[in-house]
């Protein structure tokens, strides 16, 4: 009879097991459905956006314009291609830059979509301002690298086509206007790791240079210089020390260890305590630019293993270096350039010399426009080296072919659209000319 018991047990087991269909409903415990993203998640979505812009485009993206602008030398394949302005359509660093910007844009658009459905309270409106800043930031990066790019205001799975450079610039300006009116005002040095109204103004000033809106650039830059919120540091190297705060930064990505990238790996030598890969080196031509600039030179480069090593990102493979997006020194340079273009060379010279004095350099005395522009660009090169400016500075002033030996043709003023993207979306054809 005991078999009968076992038999019954078997039957019971069988019967019990039928109808475990609900057992097939398993949901991940590390994520939630997008439809659940609501008011409570707004700050978290903002963090997700910052995280994306800090990481997704790749650490090389922040210094892409130094590589392409003749500020680096390397024998690491893909870095070398960029450094020598012979970028392959499959270059992974360029691809990652493209992909990463669109990832950030997706997150930004999603936040805007959600915010449109939520109450229009003060904090939501600030969040909108931040989102508009990032849309502008994305497109500033896109347009200066690839020229015509698709403007995506709402997330889509469609195969989008490219919009004209003109339209992209107009879109950037629109977005920055919104950001300036909505983003929260900066509140002291501790807040510069978040987007502020001032950050939007600083980016707008930069855009104004590109658009040759000299008076707009001048007034925005002067506004920030005169705001009393920012000042040039006495100690140049303090601006880049990851543990300290400084008075120059308007907006930076904090890039903490464990959440951020390891941009310092590209500069730091193997033998340095934080261990780097020593990917990028400074070419002689850059070092020569520092001829009478020994103080700033020493604070930008230290000699390690008989080689000059950049000190702006000393975290090496350990990470933790913050990445400055805008700082007040750039405003001095924007103001100087804009004033000169508005035919106020003496005014421009004042701003330029103010910055030079701070860096321990002698005053310049220039009255010729060409010489002045040359001086501003040299100053921009040394002051802002490895902060992602050089290439576009040369392109927008039409000097790329003269200044960079490996740029010999017009087409090299743009990057190639990643081949992968062209293969998957034929609407992005044709490739930028020459590639």
């Amino acid at each position: 009879m005991k078999y009968l018991k076992i038999f019954t047990l078997n039957i019971a087991l069988f019967a019990f097991l039928f109808g475990c269909e609900e057992q097939l409903m398993i949901s991940p415990q590390t994520s939630i459905a997008p439809s659940e993203l609501g008011q409570q998640e707004v700050p978290q979505m903002l963090n997700g956006i910052l995280h994306s812009f800090q990481n997704a485009p790749g650490q090389a993206s922040f210094i892409m314009f130094d590589m392409a602008g003749g500020n680096t030398e390397t024998d690491w394949d893909e870095y070398q291609e960029i450094s020598e302005n012979r970028i392959d359509v499959n270059n992974d660093l360029v691809r990652q830059n493209w992909d990463g910007l669109f990832e950030g844009l997706y997150r930004t658009n999603l936040l805007l979509e959600r915010l449109a459905e939520l109450d229009d309270n003060a904090s939501n409106s600030e969040a909108k301002g931040v989102a508009h800043y990032f849309r502008a930031y994305t497109y500033y990066n896109l347009v200066t690298r690839w020229g015509d790019v698709p403007i995506i205001k709402e997330n889509t799975r469609e195969k989008v086509a490219r919009d004209s450079e003109q339209d992209v610039w107009a879109f950037i300006e629109e977005e920055l206007q919104q950001a300036i009116s909505l983003a929260p005002p900066a509140s002291g040095t501790s807040s510069y790791y978040y987007v502020s109204r001032e950050a939007a103004e600083a980016l707008m000033a930069r855009v104004a240079l590109a658009r040759e809106n000299w008076s707009q650039g001048e007034s925005l830059a002067e506004g920030l210089i005169n705001s009393g919120m920012y000042s040039l540091e006495d100690d140049y190297s303090a601006i880049f020390e990851k543990e300290n705060t400084n008075t120059e930064t308007i907006f930076a990505l904090r890039n903490m260890m464990g959440e951020g990238n390891t941009i310092g790996r590209l500069f730091v030598d193997y033998g340095w305590p934080t261990v780097g890969s020593d990917v990028l080196e400074a070419p002689q031509d850059l070092l020569d630019t520092y001829e009478n600039d020994s103080l700033r030179y020493k604070e930008t480069f230290i000699m390690f293993d008989d080689e000059p090593m950049c000190t702006k990102y000393l975290g090496g493979a350990q990470g933790g270096d913050h990445i400055i997006i805008s700082r007040i020194a750039e405003m001095y340079l924007i103001s100087a350039e804009a004033k000169a273009r508005l035919m106020d060379i003496p005014g421009g010279l004042d701003r330029l010399n103010e910055l030079r004095q701070q860096r321990g350099l002698d005053d310049l005395d220039i009255s010729d426009m060409d010489q002045f522009m040359e001086a501003v660009l040299r100053e921009r090169r040394t002051e802002l080296v490895y902060e992602g400016f050089r290439f576009y500075d040369l392109v927008r002033t039409n000097r790329a072919i003269d200044e960079v030996p490996t740029i010999t043709a017009e087409y090299q003023k743009l990057f190639p659209i990643p081949q992968r993207e062209l293969n998957l979306n034929e609407n992005l054809q044709p490739q930028n000319m020459g590639y």
């Binding site: 078999y3 076992i6 038999f7 078997n10 087991l13 069988f14 097991l17 039928f18 475990c20 057992q23 097939l24 409903m25 398993i26 991940p28 415990q29 590390t30 994520s31 939630i32 459905a33 997008p34 993203l37 998640e41 978290q44 979505m45 963090n47 997700g48 910052l50 995280h51 994306s52 024998d75 359509v89 499959n90 669109f102 990832e103 997150r107 658009n109 999603l110 995506i152 997330n155 889509t156 799975r157 195969k159 989008v160 790791y193 903490m256 959440e259 193997y270 033998g271 261990v275 890969s277 002689q284 008989d306 090496g316 493979a317 350990q318 081949q419 992968r420 993207e421 979306n425 992005l428």
Partner: protein
């Protein structure tokens, strides 16, 4: 040999060859000896049918004959002969006293387990002659005599239609097994492994990335415990496993207890393995000469003249680029100078020798007991295996125990369990596709570089020397994966109401993994203070299974019906901590880390619910039919798409049982046909269907979230529809057996993590994207060539031809590149190589297009096909240059037994596949940072018409041009391998009896003894990626090792 093989196969002269073999056998039996007296008679089987081909021999002599088609024999025997021995491979031997008889008629009894071989099928067993699908069985005999770590290894070369590639020669590493080609494009194409009825987890969950050196999770089953392996190839056999059967099913059955008494066995073997070959690299002086030749070309191509020496760059690794004045200065030994001051006359460093063992030891011990007592049968075993890897600190050891027990409470009810416990310890080293890989970087190291500086500190890769220092990497790394598993099942069977059988089983496949990796402060990746990664993974897989079977025979009708229900859940939890900055390299636990860099934990799960049914019907043993249906529901799909149904049907006709069939020599002839559908859901993530927002996207230590998975609620089952047509032919009661199958397998709704244009915010999405077809022909043959009472010779041969092609890809007829070397395209197989097409070497300037000439391309550089005819060469000129699939593959085993001596020789081959030699793209290219392969150095282009194969020695951008991914590095990977030779000797009973042992067998075996191939790398049998889309890449993989072991097998 290879050519011969392919020639006979292609010419179709294959069958005549076999027939000749056959005729030889006949002849050999015709040898007749001097006679004194004649005996004759007829030999029949149990049914009274005449038996052809029975050996009739005078005992203890070699005098004998064979019966004819009518079972008759006549034999002259010596006067003093007193016993005749009748033997046949399919029947039990019989001895008959001759006495005064002159006519001796004999009826022979079938040898159990041979003709009426029982085959394990899904959820049951069947007699071989009743099988209507395509199922191959593997004999596990001889396993103990070859060093075998993982059961998948046993499939290699043994089963038609099954291709096995060893991914690496590191101990305990995985095998890539494809049953009837690759049927999915996502993830692995591994078959479903079912051990004692339990579908087991075959994923390597180790957290340590060691550069493509996978672990074989199947190694948790000790191959010595295996009784039999069956491979279910066609859909009608496999469909009973429904949703996971598309890539075939491998059923593994462990040993069960014997019938009477208890027997003990002890098995021990030990030996060593070695690298099968060395890759010859040039020595220092030749290296310098050739690199300087390249530097000369560089300067003269650009009309550069030497400037001021001050402009020379001082890279500690040597003159690896042009100087500041653009001129590239001559390369001289950088280490004879400051700060290294090494002896300029030092001898060359053999880097590979420094990081590898001359002899890696292997040993295996196993004690097992099996038997029965009363109504209880059991099998118990304890085994240990230790294998050193060929790389210095690499190793693997395993301890495993198993107890299989079954108790019959009555004739109608039995219960039992089968449990295996295993601990594996893997001492791991980085290799292949990882930056500090051992073969990778040490094969690339230049001969004048040394591992240590004069003060004894390491030469550091990238800083002092060009590539990572293998000695440093190995010394300063402790990487280990410990794997604890329990694989067990408890079952009961109840028979009732005459013909009903209820089977219940509860099974668990539990696996706990502990990964630990310590890179000390001195390790190249260990800065700034040492890094420990400690990860633990618990994988639990539970299965509940109930089946009810009803069996009934009415007159000539046999039928059985089975219905069942399964529920399975797989859960994985993982947590890991990354601790950094230790006081010194003697601290290795996170307790002493200054900082936790990262800590994570995650959980994931999936479940599967199935209802199964099968009906087998047979009429008079002639007409056989089988129908099966399985309905699976998976948690991976969204509601509405969760369930899939997988039907199958097959028929068989045993023509030889028909009355009209009048060929006596043909003892069995069966035609089979089957159709069925199977599914796949393996390649996709557990939550691929659900769009989800995840955490962890943090900023300034504040929680951030973002949508990281776009999700696709439209995902559905990938389904394969397979047709199979087969034939089983047996001649002379099993002397000759042939199985041939032709199949067509069409996979639809292929699941793919499809690359997406990133303007969507995502770089990929899982989708059902297309269809693929596999067509193939496979043939297995077993012959008993000679079978006398002292000498036996058997041959097993199998060969398979599989053609794979993609038949549909949604949205595009265009080529979709995969990785850097492969592509997907409609009409082409998976594993298609897509790169530049090298047409030869430019011999003179007139051939070179202007655009290339302007890039300093000169005679001696590689001439690539300009596919888009734009005068320059770029990725837009990529084209299809080959594929990684073999035209055919198979194996040939010959076993000879003479008295107590047994010799078996096993060859396997694979012909027509291409291999991309990723390593050659580094060391074949005259790169001042790399070593240089001898053959390339010797045969480089040196002037017009010197060669069309290898370019000139050139450095700088022209070198980069020449080394672009192209078929310059693509080789024919065809091979024929002497996979295994075994020689065994069983001591005579008299001798073993004296030692109180029932059996003493001594053996010696050799693995991978010879490989016949034109491939210049270590071994053509490699695979960097387990992904079928990217198969056929050799990237510094450790080749399968050559090994020799000796051992003994004792029976008590």
């Amino acid at each position: 040999m290879l050519n011969y093989l392919s020639r006979i196969v292609r010419s179709g002269s294959f069958l005549p060859g076999i027939c000749m073999l056959f005729a030889l056998q006949m002849l050999s039996a015709e040898i007749i000896h001097a006679q004194d007296k004649t005996v004759s008679g007829t030999v029949t089987n149990e049914k009274g049918e005449a038996l052809f081909g029975v050996n009739v021999v005078v005992k203890n002599t070699d005098q004998g004959t064979m019966t004819d088609e009518n079972g008759n024999y006549t034999l002259s025997i010596p006067e003093n002969a007193n016993t005749l021995v009748f033997s046949h491979i399919a029947y039990q031997d019989q001895q008959v006293e001759i006495g005064g008889q002159t006519t001796i008629n004999i009826q022979m009894a079938t040898r159990v387990g041979e003709l009426s071989e029982v085959v394990v099928v899904g959820y049951g067993e069947k007699e071989r002659e009743d099988v209507t699908g395509s199922i191959s069985s593997i004999d596990a005999a001889g396993v103990q005599e070859t060093p075998t770590i993982s059961p998948d290894q046993l499939l290699r070369g043994k089963v038609s239609g099954v291709q096995v590639v060893q991914t690496s020669g590191q101990p305990g590493s995985g095998f890539q097994v494809n049953v009837r080609g690759v049927a999915s494009i996502n993830g692995s194409n591994e078959p479903l492994y079912v051990i004692d009825g339990v579908p087991v987890n075959n994923q390597d969950n180790s957290e340590l990335y060691m550069g493509g050196t996978s672990r074989s999770p199947l190694a948790r089953l000790n191959p010595n415990d295996i009784e039999s392996i069956e491979v279910l190839k066609d859909a009608s056999s496999a469909a009973i496993y429904g949703s996971r059967a598309t890539n075939g099913v491998v059923l593994i059955t462990t040993k069960r207890g014997g019938e009477d008494g208890i027997s003990l066995q002890f098995n021990a073997s030990t030996g060593f393995s070695q690298l099968p070959k060395q890759i010859d690299l040039v020595g220092t002086s030749k290296w310098m000469d050739i690199i300087n030749e390249g530097i000369d070309y560089y300067n003269s191509d650009r009309n550069l003249t030497k400037g001021d020496e001050v402009n020379r760059l001082s890279d500690p690794r040597g003159q690896i680029g042009p100087g500041l004045d653009g001129y590239w200065y001559e390369f001289t030994d950088p280490y004879a100078q400051q700060p290294y001051n090494l002896d300029p006359n030092r001898s060359d460093t053999d880097w590979m020798d420094l990081v590898t063992r001359d002899r890696a030891m292997v040993s295996n011990y196993q004690l097992s007991a099996s038997g029965s007592s009363g109504n209880t049968q059991f099998y118990a075993s304890l085994g240990t295996s230790i294998e050193q890897g060929i790389i210095n600190t690499n190793g693997f050891d395993r301890i495993s125990g198993r107890l299989n027990l079954n108790h019959g409470f009555s004739d109608r009810f039995n219960m039992g369990f089968r449990v295996g416990l295993t601990r594996m310890d893997h001492q791991r080293v980085p290799n292949a596709g990882i930056g500090n890989g051992i073969f990778t970087r040490n094969l690339e190291a230049r001969p004048f570089e040394v591992p240590y500086q004069n003060d004894g500190s390491y030469m550091v890769g990238g800083k002092d020397i060009a590539r990572h220092n293998g000695i440093q990497v190995l010394n300063e790394l402790d990487a280990e994966t410990k794997d604890y598993s329990v694989l067990g099942t408890v079952f009961s069977n109840l028979e009732f109401l005459g013909g009903f059988r209820w089977h219940s089983a509860l099974s668990a496949d539990l696996n706990y993994l502990h990964d630990y990796r310590y890179r000390t402060v001195l390790h190249p990746y260990g800065g700034p203070g040492g890094i420990v990664v400690d990860a633990r993974t618990l994988n639990q897989n539970y299965l509940i299974e109930n089946t009810l079977t009803y069996q009934r025979t009415i007159g000539n009708f046999d039928s059985d019906i089975m219905v069942g229900y399964n529920f399975e859940k797989n859960e994985m939890e993982q947590n890991d901590i990354d601790g950094r900055d230790f006081p010194s390299s003697s601290f290795g636990y996170i307790a002493s880390a200054a900082r936790i860099n990262d800590a994570n934990s995650m959980w994931t799960a999936n479940s599967l619910e199935s209802i199964i049914g099968r009906i087998n019907v047979g009429y008079a043993n002639k007409y056989l039919m089988s129908f099966a249906l399985r309905r699976d529901g998976s948690s991976k799909f969204a509601e509405g798409n969760k369930y899939g149904s997988f039907p199958s049907a097959s028929i068989g006709w045993r023509i030889s049982e028909e009355n009209f069939f009048a060929f006596d020599t043909v003892t069995d002839l069966k035609l089979r046909a089957s159709y069925g559908q199977t599914g796949n859901q393996n390649g996709i993530g557990n939550f691929a269907a659900i769009p989800s927002a995840s955490g962890g996207e943090n900023y300034l230590e504040n929680t951030g979230i973002a949508i990281t998975n776009p999700g696709n609620e439209e995902l559905q089952w990938e389904t394969a529809t397979q047709y199979n047509f087969g034939l089983d032919l047996e001649l002379l009661y099993g002397r000759f057996r042939l199985t041939a199958d032709y199949f067509i397998k069409n996979t639809d709704n292929l699941l793919y993590n499809r690359p997406l244009y990133t303007t969507t915010g995502f770089s990929q999405i899982t989708q059902n994207i297309g269809s693929m077809e596999n067509r193939g022909f496979e043939l297995g043959l077993r012959t008993f060539n000679l079978s006398s009472n002292t000498f036996r010779w058997t041959t097993d041969f199998n060969i398979s031809f599989v053609n794979n092609k993609l038949t549909k890809l949604i949205g595009t007829e265009d080529i979709m590149p995969v990785g850097g070397w492969h592509a997907l395209k409609v009409g082409e197989p998976l594993g298609t190589f897509h790169m530049l097409d090298m047409q030869g070497i430019y011999q003179n300037e007139s051939e070179i297009p202007q655009a290339l000439y302007d890039q300093y391309i000169r005679p001696g550089d590689v001439k690539f096909a300009d596919i888009n005819n734009n005068g320059s060469i770029s990725a837009a000129d990529y084209t299809i240059v080959g594929d990684a699939n073999p035209d055919f593959f198979g194996g040939l085993a010959n076993t000879f037994a003479y008295k107590n001596l047994e010799l078996s020789v096993f060859l396997d081959f694979s012909v027509g596949q291409d291999i991309y030699a990723g390593w050659a793209q580094q060391i074949d290219v005259f790169w001042p940072l790399m070593s240089l392969r001898q053959e390339v150095a010797d045969n480089r282009w040196t002037g017009p018409n010197s060669t069309n194969e290898y370019p000139r020695a050139i450095v700088g951008s022209s070198r980069d041009f020449n080394r672009q991914s192209s078929d310059r590095f693509l080789y024919d990977g065809s091979y024929l391998k002497v996979r295994n030779i075994r020689l065994g000797y069983t001591l005579p009973q008299k001798l073993s009896g004296k030692l109180m042992l029932s059996r003493i067998k001594l053996f010696v075996s050799a693995q991978n003894l010879f490989t016949f191939t034109n491939y210049p790398g270590y071994d053509p049998e490699v695979s960097r990626y387990t992904d079928a889309k990217q198969q056929g890449v050799d990237y510094y993989n450790v080749p399968p090792l050559r090994s020799v072991t000796v051992g003994m097998n004792l029976g008590f």
